[in-house]
Amino acid sequence: MTIDLKTIKHISKLSRISVDEQKAQKLAGDLNSIFEFIEKLNELKTDNVEPLTSVAETTLKFRSDEIKSENIREQIIKNSPEDNEDFFVVPKVVE
C-alpha cells in the first residue's frame, strides 16, 4: 500500500496542518516507510480477538454533581494570544 500526495493533502486538511508541495513529498516518503513497517501487523490473524479497551483494570469512577470551580475567567484568558478580556478572539468564521 502506498500513501499518495492526494492522501497526504487530505489528512493534512483533517489535521489542520498546512503542507506545501515539498513538505507533502517528504511526508509521503516518511509515511510510506513507516507504514511499510506497520504493515507487519497484517501477518497476524485477529478476527476473534477482542480489542483492548484499557490497561487500567478498574472501572470508571464517578464524581458527585457539585460546583467546585468558580469564576476564573482571568486565569482562563490570561494565556490567550488574542482576547478582549471577556472573550477568546479568533479570525472571523465564515459559515
Binding site: 506497520i38 470508571l60 494565556n79 479568533v90
Partner: protein
C-alpha cells in the same frame, strides 16, 4: 560548604539536611552553580533559580524534617505543568505558556518539601528517542560530547547523570524514561499505568503515558516513586491500589524469585555487546539467588508497529487543542481555518507533524478497522502474552535498549531506525506494566548500557527489590568526566 554536594545521592542529601550537616540553601546553590556551568548540555528549557534559592532560604528558616524530600532542589521534565513557571513540552507552540495550575505529580513532590530548580528539556511533546525533536535544541549526553542522551526525557536523564539535579521525574510513553536512563548510566522507573496521576502532564498518548522517577541509584528512585505515586480523583485512569513505602521496604533478598528471560527479545542484528550484557545480567540475577526461567512472549515483534498506530492516533487527538485559540503560539491567518493551519504548521516541529499525520490517517474513515482496531487487538494479544508468562514468573529481565547512545544527527532523518530504539521498552507500555532500567555495564566506547526489569502490574516493589539486589552485584560506576565544564 561541602564541595561534593552534587555528587551525593538523594538519600545522603536528605540525611545531611536532616542532621543539619547541610542547609537546603547550600544544596540548592550547589546544584544551581553546577547547572550554570553546564549550559552546554542544554538540559534546561526554563530555569527558576532565584525562586529556588528563596524557597530554600524559607525552608531553612522553618525546616520540616519529617518530609521525605526536605529542602531538596529538583528540576523536572518540561512536560509537567508547573504553576507560574513556563511549561513548553519542548514545543514552539507552547513557547509562552505559563500554567496557572500544578500537575499532581509535581505537587506531590513540593508537598514533601522539594524545591523546583527549573524545567528540563525533552523531545517535543515527548515524541522522540534522542531529544533531537525539541524546539529548544539538542541535549548533550554528559557521557560524551556529541552523543544523544536518549529521549524523550533526555534533559532529565542528562541532568541526573550530569549532577545538575539529584533526582528528577520524566514521563514514559514507549520508553522515554528507561531508554535515556540506559543511555546516561542512570536508573529510571516506568510505573504501572494508573500508578502516577496524569493530571497536569501535557498528554502525548493517554493510554500509554506514565510519569516516573529517574535517579542515580535504585534507592533514590524508590524514594521518589513513593512520593509521586498517589491515587488521584482528577485522573479517571488513576488506580486506587495499595502503594508500598517503596524505599523503606526495599529488600535485597530476592532469593527464589523467578525471573523470566523472553527469547523473542533476542532480535536480529542485536549488537554482541548487548547480548553479552544480557548474559551478564542473567548471571548477576542468579548470583542474587534468583531462579532463571526461559519464557516466550510470542507477539513481541508486533509491539512496535502496534505502538506506532496507537500512540500517534491518540496524539493526533490530544494535540488538537493546540489551535492558537486559548493559549500558546498563534500565526496570523486570513480566516479561522487558515489561522489553524498556519499555527499548527509553524508551531509543531516535523516529528510531531509526522505523528499527527500518521494518527489522523489510521483513525480516518475506511482505515480505522485496518489500523487502529487491529492495533488494539494486537495490544490485547501482547498483554495476554505477559499475563500468561506471569503465571510462572515474578519478573522479566531484558536489555533496556538494542544499542548504546548514538551520535547526535545519526538517526535524525530515518524515522523507522529511530523508532527501533524503543523495541524493548514499548511492549511494557502497551501492557501497562511497571519496568525499571538500571545501568549494568559499558560498551567498548565506554558508553553505559542498561538492563530492564519488567514486573507484574502494581508490583513496583518487586522490581525495585530485584534492581536493588542486582545493582549491588553489578557495582556500576558512571564515567562522567565533566568534559563540558570549562
Amino acid at each position: 560548604m561541602m564541595s561534593n554536594i552534587t555528587t551525593q545521592s538523594l538519600t545522603s542529601l536528605v540525611d545531611n539536611i536532616k542532621n543539619k550537616e547541610l542547609s537546603s540553601e547550600e544544596v540548592t546553590k550547589a546544584f544551581i552553580e553546577r547547572s550554570e556551568k553546564s549550559k552546554e548540555l542544554n538540559s534546561y528549557i526554563s530555569e527558576d533559580f532565584s525562586n529556588a534559592i528563596d524557597k530554600a532560604k524559607k525552608f531553612d528558616q522553618n525546616p520540616n524534617f519529617d518530609l521525605k524530600l526536605p529542602g531538596i532542589p529538583i528540576a523536572v521534565k518540561d512536560l509537567f505543568c508547573t504553576e507560574n513557571v513556563r511549561t513548553t513540552a519542548g514545543s514552539k507552540i507552547l513557547e509562552n505558556f505559563v500554567p496557572t495550575y500544578e500537575s499532581t505529580v509535581t505537587q506531590n513532590i513540593w508537598n514533601e518539601g522539594a524545591i523546583l530548580l527549573g524545567k528540563l528539556n525533552c523531545d517535543e511533546f515527548a515524541m522522540g528517542s534522542s531529544n533531537e525533536t525539541s524546539y529548544y535544541g539538542n541535549v548533550q549526553n554528559p557521557i560524551d560530547k556529541g552523543l544523544v542522551p536518549g529521549g524523550s526525557s533526555g534533559g532529565s536523564a542528562a541532568a541526573v547523570s550530569g549532577q545538575l539535579t539529584p533526582i528528577t521525574i520524566g514521563t514514559d510513553t514507549g520508553g522515554s524514561i528507561r531508554q535515556p536512563a540506559s543511555f546516561t548510566g542512570t536508573v529510571g522507573l516506568k510505573p504501572t499505568y494508573g500508578s502516577c496521576s496524569r493530571y497536569g502532564i501535557v498528554a502525548f498518548a493517554s493510554s500509554l503515558d506514565q510519569a516516573g522517577p529517574m535517579a542515580q541509584n535504585v534507592k533514590d528512585c524508590a524514594l521518589l516513586q513513593e512520593v509521586i505515586s498517589t491515587y488521584d480523583k482528577k485522573d479517571s485512569t488513576s488506580i486506587d491500589f495499595k502503594r508500598n513505602q517503596y524505599s523503606k521496604e526495599l529488600n535485597k533478598d530476592i532469593k527464589g524469585k523467578k525471573i523470566g528471560i523472553p527469547k523473542e527479545y533476542r532480535v536480529d542484528g542485536m549488537p554482541k555487546e548487548i547480548e553479552d550484557l544480557w548474559q551478564k545480567g542473567i548471571q548477576y540475577a542468579k548470583d542474587c539467588g534468583a531462579e532463571i526461567i526461559d519464557i516466550s512472549l510470542p507477539n513481541t515483534s508486533y509491539a512496535l508497529p502496534t505502538y506506532y498506530i496507537v500512540a500517534p492516533a491518540e496524539a493526533s487527538s490530544n494535540l488538537a487543542r493546540y489551535d492558537g485559540v486559548k493559549y500558546g503560539f498563534r500565526a496570523k491567518g486570513e480566516n479561522l481555518i487558515d489561522m489553524y493551519e498556519k499555527t499548527r504548521s509553524e508551531g509543531f516541529g516535523a516529528e510531531v507533524q509526522r505523528r499527527i499525520m500518521i494518527g489522523t490517517y489510521v483513525l480516518s474513515s475506511g482505515y480505522y478497522d485496518a489500523y487502529y482496531l487491529k492495533a488494539q487487538k494486537v495490544r490485547k494479544l501482547i498483554k495476554n502474552d505477559f499475563d500468561e508468562a506471569y503465571k510462572q514468573i515474578d519478573a522479566i529481565l531484558t536489555p533496556s535498549t538494542p544499542s548504546s547512545a548514538f551520535k547526535i544527527g545519526e538517526k535524525k532523518d530515518d524515522p523507522v531506525s529511530m523508532y527501533l530504539n524503543d523495541v524493548f521498552t514499548v511492549p511494557v507500555n502497551l501492557a501497562g506494566l511497571p519496568a525499571i532500567s538500571i545501568p549494568a555495564g559499558h560498551d567498548t566506547a565506554g558508553y553505559p548500557l542498561g538492563l530492564q526489569i519488567i514486573g507484574k502490574a502494581f508490583k513496583e516493589q518487586e522490581i525495585l527489590d530485584v534492581a536493588y539486589a542486582m545493582e549491588e552485584k553489578i557495582g556500576f560506576k558512571n564515567k562522567i568526566t565533566d568534559w563540558w565544564i570549562k
